[in-house]
């Protein structure tokens, strides 16, 4: 259970950070000795372990001058075994100090939480300062990959998915954060090891992907393969050719050669069946939703995260691709595990890709049993942001769930339909000069990102008329959670994003649902010519300014958003200054406002954390242009500490 307590996070305070004021002040008292010394600063510092405050041995510390690049722009020293370092002759100006040490995550002066930024510091003439740098221990994760006989598997790729990559509800995954998927390769003993990990939840996977083409493609030149790009076919060996492919009946199979794929050979048995390893997640499942999440804290050295791969007998999936004008030949067909469909995982866990032949038929010759989605699409040619989006060709899409059993799947009908369109209008409330429609085109092109990550990436064009009516290109059905980056809070000069609604529903709180064959025509995006800013101060329990506080602002209507993730523009957060003050741009609305320690800024959007915060938060109605001030106290979220 989550529990909230009011507390001062004194243990997490940075031991000593010398502010720019301190540095300048110490310089003031020395005017009469100026002729004896050059007007430059002296910085003495110590590198300590953030958890134990013990000195870090072997730390390398670099002082960089702000804005300077190339040779001579930085000075590097090796700290003593006591963790001390000295920078002499530091010229006046803004500097940053970075520190690294074996076994620690990179850090530096002014870093207040794991993964947080270093803070530049201003050095006055002749300043002398004593500073402290805290480094957090890296986490590591290691294990061994074995085959079904228990023998080590050498040279296979192992991927590590961080919590950010996992997503939550379908359609919400992109709003969770950037995807980071480091990978490594097992050595001759089947062992792998990830180092330099930040605390968090991880999933270990051995991915595999098979590109499968009709045998008639054996002679295809690269131009023919390039032509398939609009339906998403990219060959692992690049567009330059087919590379090495294996023949299974009337199908050519290419074990993926890309960075994240298994390169295990397959076995074709005398009875005609093919055996290969399916994607496997720790602790030994082929479904990511059954994968074990490994929670790492700073300094954890997890080992024995071992995976035993079990080969599956691969089955066939056959079907036929048709469109509005009959069978479609030469179009890529994508096979996605059900867990990956409509999420960022489409990119890495696509199980196979093939191409339809002359009569529209397609075949996957090597598919491990399981739940999949077959997808196919054709995008309009001129799908480039900034161009006229009224392409003659419609977007075609198909999405068909299939369950592959031990008998395989035959005769799947995959019927492509025209995409649906999202239409609406932009409403400018205010008197500022209207921005040109083209400016809003960029804004809207990222506003409605299809959940079909593989198909669309960021390629989507939206047309905006002079009357500020807009329409997207044809889109596949699904949940469209607006994923506006924060800079689009001000999409055009003098205009600020305020709301997006459809049929009166707030799209920031629940995604727009695009149904097959039905356009959405009533989206209203409201812009205002006044910025709304929340300012305030964060104090500790004694009422003193809290130096490492952060403010979080999230919608008061928790029922609506809790299951759909928390889109960036539904919530706001910012670190406070060392004197506890904060200022952040927000959208008008009903909010809950709370203060946390900055160390929690990276993970406060977890469901349980928000629920816990909500119980303690201050309710606040923010009205356009009113710029409220709020005094807050830091709450510690104890139950959530890993």
């Amino acid at each position: 259970m989550s529990r909230i307590a009011l507390a001062v996070a004194s243990a997490t305070l940075v031991a000593t950070v010398v502010s720019s004021q301190t540095l300048s002040k110490s310089g003031d008292g020395e005017k009469h000795v100026k002729q004896q010394r050059p007007p430059s600063g002296l910085i003495l510092g110590r590198v300590v372990d953030a958890a134990t405050n013990q000195p870090v041995v072997g730390a390398v510390v670099s002082l960089g001058r702000d804005g300077a690049r190339g040779a001579g722009s930085s000075t590097t020293v090796l700290a003593t075994d006591g963790g001390y370092f000295v920078f002499r002759d530091v010229p006046a100006g803004t500097v940053t100090i970075a520190a690294t040490a074996a076994g620690y995550l990179p850090g530096g002066l002014g870093q207040r939480r794991i993964g947080g930024p270093n803070q530049p510091t201003t050095v006055g003439d002749g300043a002398r300062a004593n500073v402290s740098i805290r480094l957090w221990r890296e986490a590591t994760l290691a294990g061994t990959i074995t085959d079904e006989t228990g023998d080590p598997v050498a040279g296979i790729n192992v991927a590590l998915l961080s919590r950010d990559a996992l997503g939550r509800a379908p359609g919400a995954s992109r709003s969770i954060g950037s995807i980071t998927e480091p990978y490594t390769r097992t050595d001759a003993s089947g062992a792998y090891r990830f180092t330099g990990l930040v605390p968090g939840d991880y999933i270990v996977a051995v991915p595999s992907r098979l590109t499968q083409l009709p045998a008639t493609f054996a002679g295809a030149d690269s131009a023919a393969l390039d032509a398939l790009r609009t339906s998403g076919l990219t060959m692992n060996s690049g567009a330059r050719g087919l590379g090495t492919m294996l023949r299974l009946g009337d199908t050519l199979v290419q074990p993926s050669g890309d960075s994240l794929a298994s390169q295990l050979p397959m076995t074709l048995r005398a009875d005609g069946t093919v055996v290969a390893y399916a994607p496997t997640f720790f602790a030994g499942t082929s479904r990511i939703d059954q994968a074990e999440r490994i929670t790492l804290a700073s300094g954890d050295d997890r080992h024995s995260v071992n995976l035993r791969l079990t080969p599956s007998v691969l089955r066939q999936v056959r079907g036929r691709l048709t469109g509005p004008a009959g069978p479609i030949a030469g179009m890529a067909v994508h096979l996605l595990p059900a867990f990956a469909s409509d999420s960022v995982l489409e990119r890495t866990y696509e199980a196979g890709i093939t191409v339809s032949t002359g009569d529209g038929s397609f075949a996957f010759a090597a598919v491990p049993p399981g739940d999949y989605v077959l997808k196919a699409w054709r995008l309009p040619q001129a799908l480039v942001i900034g161009t006229d989006a009224t392409a003659a060709e419609p977007t075609l899409w198909a999405s068909v769930p299939v369950t592959v059993t031990e008998r395989g799947v035959a005769d799947v009908a995959v019927t492509l339909k025209a995409g649906s369109v999202i239409r609406g209008r932009l409403v400018q409330e205010g008197t500022a000069a209207a921005a040109p429609p083209a400016r809003y085109q960029t804004f809207l092109s990222v506003a409605f990102e299809p959940p079909w990550v593989l198909a669309f990436g960021a390629r989507l064009a939206t047309r905006v008329t002079p009357a500020l009516e807009f329409s997207t290109q044809g889109l596949p059905p699904g949940r469209y959670a607006p994923v506006l980056p924060n800079q689009f809070l001000a999409p055009a000069a003098g205009w600020y994003f305020e709301s997006a609604t459809q049929s009166g529903r707030d799209l920031m709180l629940s995604p727009l649902v695009l149904e097959p064959g039905t356009d959405v025509t009533d989206v209203v995006i409201t812009l205002a010519d006044r910025r709304t800013t929340l300012t305030g101060v964060i104090n500790d329990a004694q009422g003193r300014p809290h130096p490492t506080g952060a403010v979080v602002v999230f919608p008061a209507d928790t029922r609506t958003w809790i299951d759909s993730g928390l889109p960036p523009l539904a919530s706001f957060s910012a670190a406070a200054s060392q004197t506890g003050t904060f200022s952040l741009d927000v959208r008008p609305g009903d909010y809950l406002v709370s203060a946390i320690d900055e160390a929690r800024l990276s993970d406060w959007r977890r469901d349980a954390t928000i629920r816990a915060l909500a119980a303690q938060a201050t309710r606040l109605r923010i009205v356009r242009g009113e710029n409220p001030r709020q005094e807050l106290r830091v709450v510690a979220i104890r139950a959530q500490t890993p």
Binding site: G29, V57, A142, D147, T267
Partner: protein
Amino acid sequence: MTTRALAVLMIVLGASQGQASREPQVREGTAVLAGIVSGSDGKPVPRAVVTLGGTVTLTVIAEPSGRFMFDRLPAGRFVLSASKAGFLTLAYGQPTPGRGSGMPIELKDAERRIDLRWSLPRAASISGRILDHSGRPFRNAVVTLQQRRTVDGESRLVTCCGNTTSDANGLYRIAGLLPGDYLVSALPASDYRFIPDVLSSFGEEMHQTTDEEVRWALREIESASNANTPASPRLPDPPRGSTVSYGRIYFPGTADAARAAVVTVKNGDDRSGADFSMALLPTAFIRGRVLLPDGQPAANASFSFSDGWSMATMRVGADGTFERRNLLPGKYTVIARVSTPSAPALWGSREFNLNGTNEPDVVITLGAAASVSGRLAFEAGEASPNPGAVSMSVMLSPLLGTTPARVGADGTFSFPVVDPGRYRLSASIPAASRGAWLLKSAMVGDRDAADMPFEVKAGQAVTDVVVTFTTKATRLTGTLLTADDQPAPGYYVVVFADDPAQWIAGSRRVPAPVRAATDGRFAFTGLPAGSYRLAALTSVDTSDLANADFLAALKPGAALVTLADGENKTQDVKFARVR
């Protein structure tokens, strides 16, 4: 068709990578290859990866019983190889892992070879612990193995066998090793950016903080922070700490590869306890000037900097100055060159042995550069390629500071600036225009520099080099026969020059060994005219041929064969009924 449930195959399309694989072909036939892969103890190796190379390329995983099968094969020539974690990769008919090659298998249509058996030796491993200078575990060190090999006639350290990273306890283990002699070394992890690198200025100079500096700085700060008393006079600055860096450290704890301990492993050895400590090494800088023969600065001269492993080329400043900092202990060579179309080229060089001591005032005075020039000639015969229309090039090897010379329209070529040394010379014609032309000789005086290195001395101009192409390739073929005139399969055939002066590694006169096929046949093409010795051996490695003692021992028992220009000769080799 066999009734046993065997692992079968996949036909691979597209023989090799690259442009040539654009139009792969499906190859199918009726021949069969099958067998069992076992370990050296005779027990089957379950699920070994068996690959078939040659006419088609195929991969299978053997059954848990060690059995494998390739069916539907076309007629052709194949080599089989098996690998498995914990074992050494070995080809069928290969006498020793890592040496020589497998015995090619000739298959006819519908032929069935289902009794192939060979055993994989166990792989060795080396393990140990990396510590820091104070005896604590050093984590994330990249541990690498190197072996001494002869490259271009010189003994060099070659990185091999993969690498690993020390764990949180400093422990490492590198498995899958061939028997042999290894040097174990370690560097901090690759993302550690303070390792000097000759090729870039990426490594930053790092000063060691001294206790004296820390005490001084503390006193300075205390006096400054006491606001009520006038600031005390500044204390004298203590000297800065010396510059240091992590560099490659070899087991048992030396930065000098020559002092490294050799770790010898035999088949299946698990060698543990190769523990050693990382150490900080003193770094130094080299600073100086490049001067023209008249003492004026050689502005913007080309400037090469080498540590014997890699070389960086840059330009000196407009005032002729140069500087390289953050240099680990070792031997460095600096070469400066000035080459303009209008004047004779200039050249100068210096060598340094650094060990933490700076070289702050180096002067390199340029003198006349050595050069090599000559022309191409085509023997009468087919129409020769036109040097003006086809981009032909001439190369000096080793490629030290020279780039291939383009051949002019008149057939001449020139290397205006050549570092003193010994070179071989070769020439190439683009494949599209080559036709049947091949290099016959590259004569420097009476020496064929295509095979025999020639000496270039400082300042020397080597002229009148004649590079001759011919369309008449020699061909030496034959069959190995037993005393009963039966084909003797599987032996290695070695051909080498009769004259010991021509026993030079990489020379065309000491070609790589050829493995006779199952029908006993072998062939060598393109040997230069001359006298050769021909021998058949049960086992040989290319590296053996770089060893003059090895060839001298072979020579007395080897058959003498003389090839004339363009001659096509057959020389069968019959084994005597001895032993």
